[in-house]
Structure formats: C-alpha cells, structure tokens
C-alpha cells in the first residue's frame, strides 16, 4: 500500500476521509507511543487490544478531528485513556498487588514464560499504592502529563474537561503521590 508521508497529522487525517488507507500512517507514527502509555497502565496483554481499538475508534471518528491541530497524539491518548477506563479495576488490582507484594503483574506479563521476578523498591511500591488510591480522573490527568507528556491544555481538550479541572486534579494527585513518598504537599506555596 502506498502511503503519503511528510504531511502534518491534520492533513493526514483529513486526507484519510477520501483515501482511508492514509490513516495507516497515523498508526505508524503513534502506535508505539500509545502502546507504551497503555502498557504502563495495564500491561502488554491489555495494551495490545487497547491500541488496536484506539486506532479503530480514531478512524471511525476522524471526521471530527480538528485538522488545524499540529498533532493527533493528544487525541489518540485521549481515546486510549477512555478505553483504559474499561479496565480500571484491573489497573487498580495490579497496582495494589505491586504495593502489597513488591511484584508487578504488569512487568511480569512481559515475561514470556520466563520467571524473572524483580522485587520493586520501596518507592515503586509506594507509588503503586498512591496511584491505586487516586480517583480515576486524578489518575488519568496525572499519567497523561507524567507518561504521555501532554500539556494541561492538551489534557483538558483531550478529556473534554475544563483546564481548571485539570489543574485541580493535578494538584490533588500530586499531593497524594507526594504524601505516599513521605514528603509534604508539593504544591504548598504555589499560587
């Protein structure tokens, strides 16, 4: 299949309305990024399915993508995040298991038949516990920023929430994570 390269995401998505095969290039550009983000939340087994569905959902909704955007990456992360929400119980279960036992089911899932358990350090276990105790909204915002590299504005647009909501969720999430790490309110003294 011939793919057109070197164009911006907006143009690529817009062009895929008439030439659907062009959408495959978006997959080539971002599938690994999205997979990395989802895999960190749910593990490889879920991530493979979520990534595949993320691009299918994006393809079906490509007509609504704002072609003026420079990058489709936040849009794809938003779709993936909402699909991750289907598995929020599994996500919390994995995090709690890591906190409790020091063994990460997510990391284990990558071991193909080879037992290579690595005991997580105290900080990793504390982080897992903190992430498990965040609300889904707080976790989404925090991880889109920390793992997805999205700006607050991108998170707001991606999740369809006000930027003030993004800031408040970030604040609460950071406070909880910081407390779990044994520190004080990281935002104390900030405006």
């Amino acid at each position: 299949m011939e793919l057109v390269t070197g164009v911006g995401d907006g143009e690529l998505v817009r062009g895929s309305l008439e030439a659907p095969e062009r959408f495959a290039e978006l997959f080539d550009r971002y599938a690994r990024d999205v997979h990395g983000y989802v895999a960190r939340r749910l593990g490889a087994q879920y991530a493979d399915d979520v990534v595949a569905e993320t691009f299918l959902v994006a393809f079906r909704r490509r007509e609504r993508f704002d072609a003026s955007r420079d990058s489709a990456r936040p849009w794809l992360y938003g779709i993936a995040t909402n699909l991750v929400a289907r598995h929020h119980r599994a996500e919390k279960r994995f995090l709690r298991a890591l906190e409790r036992t020091g063994v990460d089911p997510v990391a284990e899932a990558f071991d193909e038949g080879v037992v290579a358990r690595v005991d997580a350090g105290e900080q990793q276990r504390a982080l897992a516990g903190a992430l498990a105790r965040l609300s889904r909204g707080e976790r989404d915002v925090l991880l889109l920023v920390a793992w997805g590299g999205l700006s607050y504005e991108e998170v707001a647009r991606t999740l369809g929430i006000a930027i003030g909501t993004v800031r408040s969720r970030m604040h609460r999430g950071r406070v909880k994570v910081r407390a779990a790490l044994g520190g004080v309110d990281p935002t104390a003294g900030e405006d």
Partner: protein, 247 residues
C-alpha cells in the same frame, strides 16, 4: 525534594517495559487496514439504532425524552393492539401488548396520547450493525441495548436484554446481560460501561411484552430489586427497568 519530584518519580514507574512487540504491532496494523478497507466515510446517523425487537424500548425512550413536549393534560390515554399509553399523576405508563408490532403502531399510540414525539426506528439490527460511534464523545463507549435475537417463538433465554459494547456487536460473549441482575449489579455494569443510570418500574418479558412505569420524579429502587429490562434514554444514559413498584 522539589515541586516536580513526584512527577519525576512517576516517570520512573514502569519506565523500562518492553516496547510494542513486532507481532502485536503487525496484528493491530493488519486489523486497522482491514477496517480501512471496509468502512465507508463516516456520516451522522440517528442516535439510537433500534431493532424491531426493541420497539418497546424505543417507545419508552421517546416518551422519556419528550415528556416536556406533552401537548395534552389530564388523563391522556391511547390504546391500540400493540400498546397502551397513559399519563397519570405518577408519570407515564406504557403497556406493551405486542413487542414485535410494527413501529407505526407505537408511533400512533404515542401521538394519539398527545405526545409530540419524533420516533426513529431502524428496521432491524443485524450482527454487522455496530453501534454508531459518531453519536458519542471521543473515547466513550459506543453502546446499544437490544433484545438479543428476539423473534417470535424464540426461547426466552435467547431474548435477554443486552448491552453491546463498541465494536463488539459480533461477539455475543461480550454482551452484558442485565435481565435478572439486582439493581446493584446492573448499576455496577453500567458504570463499567461509562453509562449513567436512571430507573423505571415494570416488567418486560423475553418477547418484549410488559408494562413500564416511568416515574414523574427521579426514583431509586432498592439495591436488591431485580432488573427486567433496560433501554438507552440517551447515548450515554441507561434506564433500568426494575420489578420494584413505584412508591
């Protein structure tokens, strides 16, 4: 530790996981390419895709969504061979007499009872009639409610009300059966599907017959009340029909 340290700490969390495997990447890409070849250019379609077997739910949905457009007052009532629609002080009662009747019969009854509604029936759901993602926000689960394979003469167990999740219309094992669950169980399933919940009282049997009482005010039954049916009142809101009677 500075203000950004907790973010830095998070960035180390599971940072060394392997990347997307070549096999999985190839499979996902092939899946996408197969869909690219099959799917037409997206276009706007009706909010709900409703099969003939879901005419009951469609009728109830229309009433729920359009109660504010009531053009008569008092004891509005209309009855035909398929359905009887009546308004009381407690809300609306829709008695379904024939769950597989022509949609026109429901439209006639609703209009006759004084409801100015705009029904939109689709002739039938087929395994390929996937939920319409264009009606939902990005990432929200496209979903639909249907009475699965509910044709006349079907065994009741084949006619359960189900929620079909996005892109999974062909996988019946992915469907969430609601009939027979308790309210608490059904609400949990709805939450898993990112669907809001409201309640009505009544019973729908497997063939789609029954009576639905839509309360005039929001009402919540007890957690252990049984679910007899459900319908989507908006693309993201599920109305659960419980066997518990209205107060």
């Amino acid at each position: 530790m500075g203000n950004t340290d907790e973010i830095a700490a998070l960035q180390t969390f599971r940072a060394d996981l392997p990347e997307l495997g070549e096999r999985a990447e190839a499979a996902a890409r092939a899946d996408l390419l197969a869909n690219l070849a099959m799917r037409p250019t997206p276009r706007r379609r009706p909010v709900l895709r409703i099969g003939v077997g879901l005419a009951t739910a469609a009728a109830a949905t229309a009433v729920w969504a359009s109660a504010g457009q009531l053009t008569t007052d008092g004891e509005a009532r209309y009855s035909n061979a398929a359905v009887e629609v009546a308004k009381s002080d407690d809300g609306w009662t829709i008695e379904i007499k024939d769950g597989s009747a022509d949609p026109a019969a429901y439209r006639e009854a609703l209009t006759g009872a004084g409801l100015n509604v705009d029904l939109d029936f689709v002739s039938a759901l087929t395994p390929l009639s996937a939920p319409d993602p264009d009606t939902l926000d990005d990432g929200l689960l496209a979903s639909e409610i249907r009475i699965q394979d509910c044709a006349k003469g079907d065994r009741p167990e084949n006619c359960d009300v189900v929620v079909v999740t996005s892109g999974k219309a062909k996988d019946s094992d992915k469907a969430e059966t609601l009939r027979g669950l308790t309210v608490a169980e059904a609400v949990k399933k709805a939450e898993d599907l990112n669907l809001g919940v409201s309640f009505a009282s009544g019973t729908l049997n497997a063939s789609g017959k029954g009576t639905i009482h839509i309360p005039a005010k929001p009402w919540t039954p007890s957690d252990d009340a049984k679910i007899s049916g459900a319908y989507l009142s908006t693309p993201t809101k599920l109305t659960l029909i419980t066997e518990e009677t209205l107060p």
